[in-house]
Subunit: 136 residues, 2 copies
């Protein structure tokens, strides 16, 4: 199968429009996007993208989400410095979900953990499987 | 940090109720759930869970989703035989997304691919990064 190199950033308008035309955004104009660390495969977070946030991500190579709580573009890392550099992306068979392959600078989670998925259930109840990272 | 063993299946009602009480289901009563192959880290699919589908998954150890298109429980593998055996699960910092660590039997995708995330954009346009698996 085709294993050509990922597109470099910024993507051309032609490639962006081609992609946007293939995706099925929901009634809010959003898609769920999974961020996975590109080299070790760790799932870092799940967030939402609008057409505009996806377009910006593909123009800049740095991931921009849509914040549902703030109803605004969410340039991840803008305040924390913990940017997600986009390496490539995939869309699924129904074209209604994205998998972002990223290089995460520092923690992805606002709790200062590498991944947002740190909660698990054990015999003794809910536990946290990772601790907040120490800042340098 | 605590690294106790995952709970075995079926989970107790106490553990299930504890978990359900911690999660923030959306206005439809659903949560997005990422399925990741537990050993090699491949992201297989994104689907949706209701309280009932999550409860069934934790009782049986086999993943059951909520089909939004059919508005019904979706016992994955029931028709295809391609079951997802649940190994563990995580929830995120906002308690509004799940990460399912699964052992996928055969392809996860209805197109007979291992993962649903097989579409990518390249210089020449959209490409498929994997081919359908051959049935044994």
């Amino acid at each position: 199968m085709m294993q050509a190199q990922p597109l470099s950033f910024p993507w051309s308008d032609t490639s962006i429009d081609d992609l946007l035309g293939r995706l099925s955004f929901d009634e809010r104009g959003l898609l769920p996007a999974i961020a996975q660390q590109y080299d070790d495969g760790q799932v870092l977070m799940l967030a939402w993208m609008s057409r505009d946030s996806l377009r910006e991500s593909l123009k800049t190579g740095t991931v921009c989400y849509w914040s549902r709580s703030r109803a605004a573009l969410w340039r991840k890392g803008e305040t924390s410095g913990h940017f997600q550099r986009l390496r490539d992306l995939r869309w699924d068979c129904d074209a209604d979900a994205l998998l972002l392959l990223v290089d995460q600078e520092g923690p992805a989670c606002h709790t200062n953990r590498r991944s947002c998925f740190y909660n698990a259930m054990r015999d003794e109840g809910a536990v946290e499987l990772s601790a907040p990272l120490n800042e340098a």
